[in-house]
Subunit: 216 residues, 2 copies
């Protein structure tokens, strides 16, 4: 277990009891969240856009079209803030103001750089596909030279990060525990429904076992 | 059906076919997403933090502790970018680079102001609780004067917004439809699991019917 060094911008100010700087915990959130939100500044205006991220070791990866504005800004070395949030439940307390959510949320600060080495770039794209469905890469057509040209891959070292975590039942004021309102948690999770085959799929192609599925 | 006026910052540049400026579509995403990500700039650095938002008509609401940094920055009239994303599925194509996701994502630009009128503030907090579970407000202890004092409510007019939407099967290169790899969509949704009662709940308190639940 290793901890991220706390910096001024990465230190959790509000509700420090919920704060966490542990690498393993933060990586677990990043690996489970399929999408994060990348913040950057352009002409003084904040922009926040959803992005499909993936992780290899201590690096976070992104990809996008060479023509995209966000990729250009990220590639130029802009300061970034990446936020990923997993919702684990709604928390119902006996008083209105103690309602809330159970969640795991991470914030990453830093800058990204373009992956220029073709081998590193291809390995990163393979890791993205394998992260979604282990075994998938071997079965699909790999990127063509033209596709590689119009796709950029960016890497952001995971060096400055923090998390906020909440779990468990509501925390009511002591006097309110005598009230008769129901209190507790309604758990939330991301669920996968059964796969829907492409209408153009030839007859006889089976749904592969490597697709993500619910364990429940 | 009315459309948001497109501004320079709200106009979708990449993949304009996925763009949408329709108020009803954008409001549906905001109402379904339990959490959004608020971006702001502090000392030139972008920050992105998760927030529980809710909507009343053409206004988006947030709340937080009076002591919070984000609330202070928002209250001061900083430019904001609010992003909310719903994941609807993973898209598996016959080629690596056409893999993707089905999603509904909105971006809101603007500024927030403090809700100072106590009646408006209480009505907004009630709307938050009722949005999570219609009927809940009447059963819980309302905010005390002290709680109202340490809680701030902010409102952001919904005037500048856009959405990006993707749904349906993968779109492969025509030549790739002959390949034998499985292709299609794995639908994703936010699922509610059965409520967990607070361990301190007195015996005989039933789980109320107004809690959010899965229809499936």
């Amino acid at each position: 277990m290793s901890e991220f060094v706390r910096t001024k911008r990465s230190t959790v100010i509000r509700a420090p009891k919920k704060a966490c700087y542990d690498r393993d915990e933060i990586y677990a959130v990043l690996d489970e969240a399929l999408v994060s939100q990348v913040g950057f500044v352009a002409d003084g205006q904040p922009f926040v856009t959803p992005v499909n991220h993936w992780r290899i070791g201590d690096n976070l990866y992104f990809h996008g079209s060479s023509a995209g504005r966000r990729i250009k800004i990220m590639e130029a070395g802009a300061d970034l803030c990446v936020s990923a949030t997993l919702l684990d439940g709604l928390v119902f307390a006996r008083s209105a103001m103690h309602h809330g959510m159970n969640f795991r949320s991470v914030m990453i600060f830093g800058r990204a750089r373009l992956v220029e080495d073709e081998g590193e770039k291809l390995a990163a794209l393979k890791a993205l596909i394998e992260h979604l469905a282990p075994g998938r890469w071997a079965e699909v057509r790999p990127p063509s030279a033209a596709e590689m040209k119009v796709t950029k891959v960016l890497v952001m070292p995971l060096a400055e990060a923090s998390a906020k975590l909440r779990s468990g039942p509501p925390l009511d004021d002591e006097d309110d525990y005598a009230l008769s309102a129901w209190a507790g948690e309604v758990p939330l999770r991301q669920a996968f429904d059964p796969p829907i085959s492409d209408p153009r799929l030839p007859a006889g192609v089976e749904v592969p076992g490597y697709l993500p599925r619910d364990e429940n």
